[in-house]
């Protein structure tokens, strides 16, 4: 019964929405409300005012920078919420620890906190559910990851000249790390970049953004008015706005990258950070 009511509601709402689209302005209509006021200003003045060819980045990073700052804060809060909901506060050391000799594949057991071989030598720490790495998958990932990371950095650095920016570049950077966790395991990932570092980086991104905005206050401008920092950077005010957009994009990218990895780590391992998928 409930199913039928729900279906009827969905169909009715869908039909209503299709009916309402009739009264929308047509595609690309120059007299539609969206293209009458503020859009024209952005399209005509964003290049001379900010020296940024990509209007979208100019709007996100400069004209509506306050909005983007809190979006970054929301991303940061999402990562923290995931950590507090799923993260295990006390890391329990298992009674038996396993170490595998990488050359021969012999697995050693250490009981009751006995000290194992040192990390990074001929032995590697593994979990009881460990499965051997697939040769092709791990090699292909090894080849791909550096290029993915460089592409992510490229997208962040060229956010104002090409599509993309801090959010997309940060996600691509994080995808490189997730690929490492998927092809090996989570322990390999946390050896490269620990959870503490990720948490700190996630906060640093927000601090870069808000701090650079606040720096403009010190130099006599408004909050997030990057042109006030022209004297500090030694460039003209218009180019200072372009540089300011790039700096806050770096902050956004840092936060998004580390938050994505934090969320993945917590979801994939229920806060224990021992094994991957």
């Amino acid at each position: 019964m409930m199913k039928h009511i729900a279906l009827a509601t969905v169909v009715l709402t869908g039909l209503l929405m299709i009916y309402v689209t009739e009264s929308f302005p047509t595609w690309g209509d120059p007299n539609s409300p969206a293209s009458l006021h503020v859009s024209n200003h952005y399209i005509e003045n964003s290049l001379p005012e900010t020296d940024v060819p990509n209007i979208v980045t100019a709007v996100l990073g400069d004209y509506r920078g306050f909005d983007t700052m809190f979006e970054t804060t929301v991303v940061f809060c999402a990562g923290m919420a995931c950590f507090f909901l799923l993260g295990a506060y006390k890391r329990e050391e298992p009674a038996i620890r396993y170490y595998r000799h990488t050359a021969t594949g012999v697995v050693l057991q250490f009981r009751n906190g006995a000290k194992g071989p040192r990390q990074g030598g001929a032995f590697e720490r593994i979990d009881p559910t460990w499965t051997p790495y697939d040769f092709i998958v791990s090699r292909v990932c090894k080849l791909m990851i550096p290029f993915i990371q460089i592409y992510g950095l490229y997208v962040i650095a060229h956010g104002h000249h090409s599509p993309g920016g801090g959010f997309q570049g940060g996600v691509i950077l994080a995808a490189g790390f997730l690929l490492l966790a998927l092809s090996h395991n989570l322990r390999t990932l946390t050896e490269r970049i620990s959870h503490r570092v990720l948490g700190i980086m996630s906060a640093i991104g927000v601090v870069i953004y808000a701090g650079y905005g606040a720096l403009a206050l010190l130099y006599g401008g408004n909050f997030l008015d990057y042109s006030a920092l022209a004297g500090l950077l030694g460039v003209d005010p218009i180019y200072a706005r372009s540089l300011g957009i790039m700096i806050v994009e770096i902050g956004v990218g840092t936060t998004v990258m580390s938050t994505m990895v934090i969320i993945y780590n917590n979801v994939a391992s229920v806060g224990r950070y021992d094994e991957g998928l």
């Binding site: 997309q168 994505m260 993945y264």
Partner: protein, 81 residues
């Protein structure tokens, strides 16, 4: 905009959306959601919203599919209803 391509992508978007709801295997549903996001990405591109398309490709089709898979592996693979 080539309307034939737009029409084909729109049909595929709807097929993916309905399939994602109908599939009992949650892992399969996650993959279908990835395909859905990719079709949406193509739609944004054909509308000229390249920034949005880029975000859709990176976040929608890329990372959220991985997060779906991670969540499915930590719960149960079959759907109860």
């Amino acid at each position: 905009m080539i309307w034939q391509i737009d029409q084909a992508i729109l049909v595929l978007v709807m097929v993916c959306a309905v399939a994602a709801l109908q599939i009992r295997d949650l892992l399969g549903a996650g993959i279908v959601f990835g395909a859905f996001s990719f079709m949406m990405c193509l739609l944004w591109t054909s509308m000229g919203a390249v920034d949005v398309a880029f975000t859709e490709a990176a976040v929608g089709a890329g990372v959220s599919t991985v997060l779906f898979i991670a969540a499915v592996f930590r719960t149960s693979r079959g759907s109860k209803d």
